[in-house]
């Protein structure tokens, strides 16, 4: 009966927490609607990067080649270099459910974070069930800081998703037995989920081994399981590691000391946890004391890992100061999960200090009350989208209607931020805004425009640009500092097959000028209006290369 009651308390608390957190994060950001008919809650380019890449994987059927490169056709066989797990999950889920990739790619980080919280709670329970229950009020902070919310609306999706696998690894390491297959899945998913976390996985294993050596409890079977799992994981992730070494390290492998990261949506700071920050710091001190005391008593190593893990993640969150850069900030995003047990440790000992040994029922009541209070006072803003239904309709029309080898030309649009246009899955140019400003200042109509090939830039940043590989293992590519020349060039508007002009802009003159150009183009009989909605128009050029506009002063005020 008692066991049943405890199980019920546990289940009810977890369910309540799950509901509140889904409401606070996922529900609030999406304004309580899963599918708006277009990407909603997408507030930065990276969101579209991951969504359109997943969409590309779904269309190609695999991630052999970078989909965006494959579709635009300049380097069609450039290998799919991005850590693949997130993309595969989003694409496969969309393929099965029929839900668009903008729903599945966006949902994954929310759902994996929910699982991460539930799993972390079970890790904490291995230390102490009451402390685990008291740790729950830190979880809502995941969606209370602006940086935390931005992680979901600015697109830190693969990084966040892969952190579930770090927590899975800890859960597995906390078990009294180790299964090599389960460990291999965790290791491989970390490397293939976000390769930069592989050293953290190694550190977690090292922490366990150190604890086991200190407590003299390192078992031969566990060492065997670890070796077998490592070998299996290495075999599974060899291709990802190979691409990581040859593509990502030459271009993005810089060691950087960062103190802030406004461009990435901000940084989670301990101070944002309010009163709980003090509980957390006190919990860290108490935990170190408990560990020192316990290790002297020589307990089992897995018994102490739940307490070592948060301490480790607290320290790793500050490695931005020694060169881990933005990767340290990614870990901080999940601090409310990682560090939660530290709060539980403090609250439990505060209870002891005031002479009250808390039971599971009273701890559950305290936690539920605190979670509810925190949720009701939540303030971090969210909602909205860069995309609009009309813009999505236009992009979808281009993707579904134009020939695969069509050349698209996007004139100025406030929302043309780059990665969102990848959804056309065609070669496309984007006019540089400064060129439009210059033309407006000169009041001139132009045929040649400063444009960029709107694409994943990475294949262009590696030299040699033809991606010739002399050595199958180390390709010897390096970052190309003058790559912009390949992308940014003056190009002929008349050579493009489809030209896109928006109807509205925050600066109306941009849209008016675009409409003026469109009207001039339509004076040519080989230009036709192929698509129109409230957002913009698409012109079809059936004679690419023919002179299509008279250059010189504009004939009437736009």
């Amino acid at each position: 009966m008692m066991k049943l009651r405890k199980a019920w308390i546990d289940g009810a608390v977890l369910l309540f927490m799950l509901a509140v957190l889904l409401h606070l994060g996922y529900g609030r950001i999406l304004e309580h609607r899963l599918d708006h008919g277009y990407p909603f809650g997408y507030l930065a380019a990276d969101t579209f990067q991951h969504q359109s890449r997943s969409d590309g994987v779904l269309r190609l059927g695999n991630f052999r080649y970078e989909p965006i490169q494959h579709f635009i056709g300049i380097y069609p066989h450039f290998p799919g270099y991005y850590p693949p797990v997130f993309l595969q999950l989003a694409a496969a889920w969309s393929g099965l459910s029929g839900l668009p990739t903008y729903v599945t790619a966006q949902a994954l980080p929310f759902l994996t974070v929910a699982l991460a919280m539930l799993l972390m709670y079970h890790i904490a329970r291995r230390w102490h069930p009451v402390m685990a229950l008291l740790s729950l009020p830190l979880f809502p902070f995941l969606f209370l800081s602006q940086a935390g919310v931005n992680a979901f609306t600015w697109g830190h999706w693969p990084q966040v998703t892969a952190q579930l696998f770090l927590i899975l690894l800890v859960w597995l390491l906390c078990q009294p037995f180790w299964n090599p297959f389960l460990l291999a899945a965790a290791f491989a998913s970390i490397v293939m989920g976000y390769t930069a976390y592989a050293p953290i996985a190694a550190l977690l294993v090292a922490a366990y081994v150190t604890l086991a050596l200190l407590t003299r409890t390192l078992e031969k079977e566990k060492v065997h399981a670890l070796l077998i799992a490592s070998a299996m994981a290495l075999a599974l992730s060899l291709k990802t590691l190979h691409l990581f070494v040859n593509i990502l390290i030459p271009t993005q492998g810089e060691v950087s000391v960062l103190r802030d990261w406004a461009a990435g949506g901000g940084v989670v700071h301990l101070a944002e946890f309010g009163l709980q920050a003090w509980l957390l710091v006190a919990g860290a001190v108490l935990s170190v004391m408990l560990l020192a005391k316990s290790i002297r008593e020589r307990g089992q190593a897995e018994r102490w890992l739940p307490l070592v893990f948060p301490l480790l993640m607290l320290v790793l969150g500050f490695t931005n100061l020694i060169g881990f850069g933005k990767r340290a900030f990614f870990l901080r995003l999940l601090w409310p999960i990682y560090l939660s047990l530290l709060v539980g440790v403090t609250l439990y000992h505060v209870g002891l200090l005031v002479g009250k040994k808390l039971t599971e029922a009273s701890a559950a009541a305290i936690s539920l009350g605190a979670i509810l209070f925190i949720a009701l006072t939540a303030t971090a803003s969210a909602g909205g989208s860069i995309m609009s239904p009309e813009m999505w309709q236009l992009l979808s029309w281009l993707r579904d209607t134009t020939p695969q080898d069509a050349k698209l030309f996007f004139f100025y649009g406030d929302e043309f931020i780059g990665d969102n246009l990848w959804n056309v899955h065609r070669y496309h140019l984007r006019v540089m805004p400064e060129a439009v400003v210059e033309a407006l200042v000169n009041r001139s109509a132009r045929r040649f425009w400063s444009t960029t090939i709107n694409s994943d830039t990475l294949p262009f940043t590696l030299v040699p640009a033809d991606h010739h590989k002399e050595n199958p293992f180390i390709w010897g590519w390096s970052a190309n500092n003058s790559y912009e020349y390949l992308l940014l060039r003056e190009r002929d508007m008349c050579e493009q097959d489809y030209l896109i002009f928006v109807k509205h802009s925050r600066q109306p003159v941009f849209a008016q000028y675009g409409q003026y150009l469109a009207s001039k183009l339509l004076e040519n009989p080989w230009f036709t209006l192929a698509f129109e909605n409230d957002y913009g128009i698409v012109l079809r050029n059936s004679m690419p290369g023919a002179s299509c506009i008279k250059e010189g002063p504009i004939e009437a005020a736009p």
Binding site: L15, G61, G95, L96, V103, L115, L164
Partner: protein
Amino acid sequence: MNLRTIIEDLKRHAVTYGVLSIVLQAVFFRESISVVQRFLASFYWMFLLPGAFLLMRWRERWGFTERLIAGSALSLAAFGVLSYHLGLLGLHVRLHGLLLPPLFIAAGLLLARGGDRA
């Protein structure tokens, strides 16, 4: 492990699915039931159901809730890794959501025949 154990587990899955349906519909109260169900059913089929089965061998050690949670994380991990390789081998990613979950469930049941050992 016998058929009764599997049926008991399936009953728990049915209850869990029902509860999650209510929670998700409450969170997305502006969404239609059909979209919420398509969302949940596909996610449950791909990750939660196979996850719990994958860890069935250790059902005495871990309760259903813990097995479901840890198994789902494991299932997401294994799915992502295998899906990548299956794609490279030529199996279209659209088929992975259909084929991998039964494979995981079968693997879990096969493992469970060995009893609660590492």
